[in-house]
């Protein structure tokens, strides 16, 4: 076989593989959307579910998912940013940093059920916080951290050394160089990481069943004081998320239309994740353009 034919064969094989992957993805998306979307209505999106039968709307759950996501990101982004910067710039290559790196890897391969049970025992039971948004957010932070930290470290390391030298040669401190020059360049990569981990958090159920709870008490959406018990912003209230709701309706739901409910909720979940990704990308591009003055 000559080089030209080999090349053709390889191209065909790669094309087939790509087509398979894209095909599976399109099939999954189409299946979920087609079976779910017909059952989505405005009252379904905004109404509250009957906690016993599982029937009704998903308004509260949808809000809970976003609230939990934002809270998780607020906790995990600063921590992983610090850890990522440390690992990429300051950590010397010795046994201690190698230990940190392996610990991060172990943490990222922890099953989410285990993270959930750990959160349950520590925050819900031991610290007596109870099933709450904040317990869920901290538990999710645990398996969000390794991914984000790794991603931020890699994005920073990928920035050329000559940029660091340029900063240092102008008398800028290492920290100033890192924050003002390296971080902006690494931003698109970091945004990608945040989007990926956000998708995971949004779709997570196992870890939340034990931490954020399975009940969605009716909240008063006119009350935005986080201190009030009925306020949707109260971080100490239990909060069933969309993904947990889908799991519950499918396993424990007594509603006659449980299958349709979960299909509709799944479609909404997927669309919400897509919208969030889109939003994060637009925001990331906007920030990147602002700091780098590029078009």
């Amino acid at each position: 076989m000559n080089a030209k034919r080999k090349d053709l064969l390889a191209t065909i094989i790669i094309d087939v593989i790509v087509a398979t992957v894209v095909g599976i993805l399109v099939f999954l998306l189409a299946y979920i959307l087609i079976s779910g979307l017909p059952h989505v209505s405005w009252s379904f999106l905004t109404g509250s579910a009957d906690s016993f039968s599982g029937a009704g709307g998903i308004g509260v759950q949808l809000f809970n998912s976003f609230y939990l996501l934002i809270l998780t990101m607020l906790i995990s982004i600063p921590i992983s940013l610090g850890a990522g910067i440390y690992l990429a710039e300051y950590a010397k290559d010795n046994w201690r940093t190698r230990l940190i790196r392996s610990a991060i890897e172990v943490l990222s391969s922890l099953p989410s059920v285990v993270v959930g049970l750990f959160g349950f025992l520590l925050f819900v039971v031991k610290f007596k916080i109870g099933f709450s948004v904040i317990s869920g957010a901290i538990a999710l932070t645990f398996f969000n951290l390794p991914l984000l930290t790794r991603n931020i470290e890699e994005s920073l390391s990928a920035v050329s050394r000559s940029q660091r030298e340029a900063g240092l040669s102008l008398g800028l401190s290492k920290w100033k160089t890192e924050i003002g020059i390296i971080l902006p360049v690494a931003l698109p990569g970091i945004v990608t990481g945040v989007v990926l981990s956000a998708g995971r958090v949004f779709g997570e159920a196992a870890a939340l069943i034990y931490t954020a709870g399975q009940s969605a008490p009716v909240t008063n959406f006119a009350d935005w004081n986080p201190m009030d018990a009925a306020s949707p912003l109260n971080p100490l209230r239990p909060a069933e998320t969309l993904a947990v709701h889908i799991w519950k309706v499918n396993t424990e739901g007594l509603a006659s239309n449980a299958a349709q409910l979960s299909a509709a909720a799944s479609a909404v979940l997927i669309i919400a994740v897509l919208l969030f990704n889109l939003f994060a990308r637009v925001l990331g591009n906007y920030l990147y353009r602002r700091v780098t003055a590029s078009k």
């Binding site: 900063g167 401190s173 020059i181 003055a293 590029s294």
Partner: protein, 267 residues
């Protein structure tokens, strides 16, 4: 086959007391781990002149240059003295960030920040505490004029610096360095990634800049050294072999290895 030249015979010039010096090194040694990369460098750099450091690849000229503003701190061990304004700046308690503001550096590959042209120049200035917009704008204009880039970019100051050509980027890097108003400007093969026309522009810029700054330039291009420098130091395998006025060095080199290098026998 490279001949074995003796390192015992060197011809390094010194200067009389009435010559104002910008920078001077005494017995400077650089080690990368166990690798002794620079031996006993004793060089003095007269003020407001261009000094060229020439030599083959691996001769230690870049290593030496990067030691002068302590850019080698994290990767190498540097011993010996570096005299700057009567202070030995090769000491652990010296503020290296302050030193680098006085001894600027331009690198081999243009490395503008991924920011606008204006931000490239004022970012480090702002970090030193200059907040006044008028002063900052003035510095932008002055430094860009100094680097002969003003006319080309004055209307696009807020566009990305990465959109400039390689030669323009390198002149922006020079502008960025001189905006800090340093005493000494170190250049590490600044033209090796540039085309001949950009090279000419950078060289013209340097000849103009020597009126205000002391310039030390590493180059592997002997024609370039001959064109722009007043003093010239020849490095060979980690040793300074000869240091003389450029014209003298190229016409009547004192030792064999310099003679062979400038006549093109190796390198």
């Amino acid at each position: 086959m490279l001949k074995d030249y003796s390192f015992d015979q060197t011809a390094v010039q010194t200067f009389d007391d009435h010559v104002a010096l910008a920078l001077k090194t005494e017995d400077l040694q650089v080690y990368y781990g166990n690798n002794h990369a620079m031996h006993d460098a004793n060089l003095a750099f007269p003020k407001n002149q261009i000094t060229a450091l020439i030599g083959a690849s691996g001769s230690g000229k870049s290593t030496y240059l990067r030691s002068l503003n302590r850019m080698n701190d994290t990767i190498a061990t540097v011993t010996g003295k570096i005299w700057y304004h009567g202070v030995d700046i090769n000491q652990p308690d010296v503020n290296i960030y302050e030193i680098r503001r006085h001894i600027g550096m331009v690198f081999q590959r243009p490395n503008p920040f991924a920011k606008s042209i204006r931000e490239n120049i004022i970012y480090a200035l702002r970090a030193t505490g200059i907040k006044d917009k008028k002063v900052l704008n003035q510095r932008v204009e002055q430094s860009l004029k100094g680097a002969a880039l003003w006319d080309e970019v004055k209307d696009t100051l807020d566009k990305s610096a990465l959109a400039l050509s390689g030669g323009q980027q390198q002149r922006l890097c020079i502008a960025r360095s001189i905006a800090m108003e340093p005493d000494v400007l170190l250049l590490d093969e600044p033209c090796s990634a540039l085309d001949p026309i950009s090279t000419v522009k950078v060289e013209e810029t340097l000849l103009e800049l020597q009126k205000k700054y002391t310039i030390i330039i590493v180059t592997h291009n002997m024609q370039q050294a001959a064109r722009i420098s007043s003093q010239c130091a020849f490095f060979h395998l980690g040793h300074v072999m000869e240091y003389a006025p450029t014209a003298t060095m190229f016409s009547t080199p004192k030792i064999q290895v310099t003679q062979d290098y400038v006549s093109g026998s190796f390198g």
